[in-house]
């Protein structure tokens, strides 16, 4: 009986180790594959040129249009999302008078987080038609901003929740209003966490394809106007992989590698910043 129990324990410990290995192994495998297949076709020309004639048949050119396009899309979307998420974060931590309402707002954000990005794409598409726009940078920004909004709000919410309530009480005791407390104490204290939230949302925005598929379109030109279509990295990967030419598919791998590197850099930077900047914060 006792031996059986020990055997069961050992079997499950072995299975747990195996599972952890599968989880980490698949992550490493994905990153490794991207490096191995992407690096050989990555060149300076790919990063610094826009597609020339015949690019999609395997000739000269690069994906600068997609890189710049993605930065514009994610940058615009993050800015737009910030305009809405900052007030929500402040509301949750200063003005929400009843815990019930704050709970409901958090629930709404969590639910929004779960909405599939293709649904944001469809929603953005309809809004775009109503505004009389065609597929454009602005359309893409609107769809992506909806996608990023819950990510930023929940990130900021978590950052603000770590602030000790004594700090807020001290500020009130000195006669500061709620708004002054929010802007001069809370936001400043949580600045590292806020930045982390923004960077993570930016990373999500730059990597999302389904929401920009209908709303931003695709073009070989560099972005020049809010009302014109714009290219994006994930779609560059998707479209190039869909062509029958191996040379173009190679470039899809390279574009994928560029995208992976950007997202990983953002993610690591966000975590590093949050650790580094919190050193001098009052606890």
């Amino acid at each position: 009986m006792k031996r059986l129990r020990r055997l069961e324990e050992h079997i499950f410990q072995f299975l747990m180790g195996l599972s952890l290995l599968v989880v980490l192994g698949s992550l490493m495998l994905i990153l490794g594959t991207m490096l191995w297949r992407g690096l050989p076709s990555l060149s300076l020309a790919m990063l610094t040129q826009t597609p020339k004639g015949g690019y999609y048949l395997g000739e000269e050119g690069g994906i600068l249009n997609a890189i710049i396009g993605s930065l514009c899309l994610a940058g615009g979307a993050t800015t737009l999302a910030l305009l809405f998420s900052l007030p929500v974060a402040i509301y949750l931590h200063t003005y929400a008078s009843q815990a019930r309402i704050a709970h409901l707002v958090r629930l709404a954000m969590d639910v929004l987080w779960g909405v599939p990005s293709i649904v944001y794409g469809a929603f953005g598409f309809i809004v775009m038609l109503w505004l009389g726009l065609r597929a454009s940078l602005l359309g893409g920004i609107i769809a992506l901003a909806c996608l990023e909004l819950p990510i930023i709000v929940r990130g900021m919410d978590e950052a603000l929740a770590t602030i000790p309530s004594a700090l807020r009480e001290a500020s009130y005791a000195l006669g500061a209003t709620r708004f002054e407390t929010a802007t001069r104490v809370l936001l400043r204290q949580a600045s590292a966490g806020l930045l982390t939230a923004v960077l993570l949302a930016f990373g999500r925005g730059i990597g999302d394809a389904a929401s920009v598929l209908f709303t931003a379109g695709y073009t070989d030109r560099l972005p020049d106007s809010l009302f014109r279509p714009v290219a994006s990295l994930p779609l560059a990967v998707f479209f190039q992989l869909g062509t029958p030419f191996p040379a173009v598919q190679q470039r899809a791998y390279a574009a994928g590698l560029v995208l992976t590197l950007i997202v990983l850099t953002l993610s690591v930077m966000a975590r590093w910043l949050s650790r580094r900047l919190t050193r001098h914060v009052v606890r």
């Binding site: 499950f12 495998l29 003005y95 929603f123 992989l241 997202v263």
Partner: protein, 309 residues
């Protein structure tokens, strides 16, 4: 007006402003649902819901819009993903919450968090490079021929672009979603419960099996539901590896055509055929409704668990 009055008014305005913005963004889900409903109304008004959901013919030019093959495509791929992901994720979360030393945890947790941020197209390319050839090789191998006799394993499609490939890619995508939530829930089980069990002479694993998991069960289930709804709504990773053949899959090796792929592939032509746009936006509405129901129930369970923890 004095300075004090100005400060007070500013505070009032900021309070009003943030409240309005908060309420408005909270209602965004409702707005998305309503907008989709309005635009897809023509299809729901002209066709009975039963026909839309259970008809297998999708021929927009002949005004036939049956979602059934696509719904089944989505369900097959998602279920395969969950069958793969659930045991692996549960064992990993138990390990991380109960067994991992602080040092191992400090290395593993950030890695899992980082993998949650990898864009879905990257999973898609990886699927095309590694998973599809793997499935193809299995399908044409000895093992494949032996499996072929079993139900759900018949091989009619040798390409490798299949339900199985989609399921594997999706499973890896939902690992971080399920693990991070499940691990948190397991960790939130009060230490006192564990100590009581140990004191009665139970082993570590027995304690986990009879005390910790039982206590954490609703939350773990919620984590699985969140993973399910993430897989259910995923587009890019799936579209690249499932083959996109509009049929009801009968086997793991068959190609499928999930709802999300349908929307993403057809948007270009949808404005030129009557009712086509309504049908596609109806598909988006269907996705939204399913995902919302799942998410809402999972979140309500999690909220209560965290509050009582």
């Amino acid at each position: 007006m004095g300075r004090l009055a100005i400060r007070r008014v500013t505070d009032q305005i900021a309070g009003g402003g943030t409240t309005v913005v908060s309420m408005a963004t909270s209602l965004l889900v409702v707005l998305i649902g309503l907008v989709l409903l309005v635009r897809s109304w023509p299809i729901f008004a002209t066709k009975p819901l039963g026909e839309l959901l259970f008809s297998t013919t999708w021929k927009p030019l002949q005004n036939a819009f049956g979602y059934y093959p696509f719904i089944m495509g989505t369900l097959w791929v998602t279920l395969v993903a969950m069958v793969i992901a659930i045991p692996i994720c549960l064992l990993t979360s138990i390990y991380l919450a109960e067994y991992a030393s602080r040092r191992v945890y400090a290395i593993v947790k950030p890695l899992i968090d980082v993998s949650a941020g990898i864009p879905s197209v990257i999973f898609g390319i990886w699927g095309v490079i590694m998973v599809v050839p793997l499935v193809q090789r299995i399908a044409s191998s000895e093992i494949g021929h032996k499996l072929s006799g079993l139900p759900f394993f018949q091989i009619n499609n040798p390409t490798g672009y299949s339900v199985l490939a989609g399921g594997i890619v999706l499973a890896i995508m939902v690992f971080p979603v399920i693990i991070s939530v499940a691990e948190e829930v397991i960790r939130a089980v009060p230490v006192g419960l564990r100590e009581a069990s140990w004191a009665l002479g139970a082993t570590r694993w027995q304690t986990i099996k009879y005390v910790v998991l039982r206590h954490a069960a609703p939350g773990v289930l919620a984590a699985i539901v969140l993973g399910f709804s993430r897989a259910f709504g995923e587009t890019m990773a799936v579209i690249m590896v499932v083959g996109n053949v509009p049929q009801v899959p009968r086997s793991l090796f068959d190609a499928a055509y999930p709802l999300t792929a349908l929307i993403a592939n057809s948007y270009g032509e949808m404005m030129s055929i009557p009712l086509y746009d309504a049908a596609l936006l109806g598909a988006a509405l269907l996705l939204l409704v399913v995902v919302l129901l799942f998410n809402l129930s999972a979140r309500l369970v999690l909220m209560r668990m965290v509050r009582h923890a």
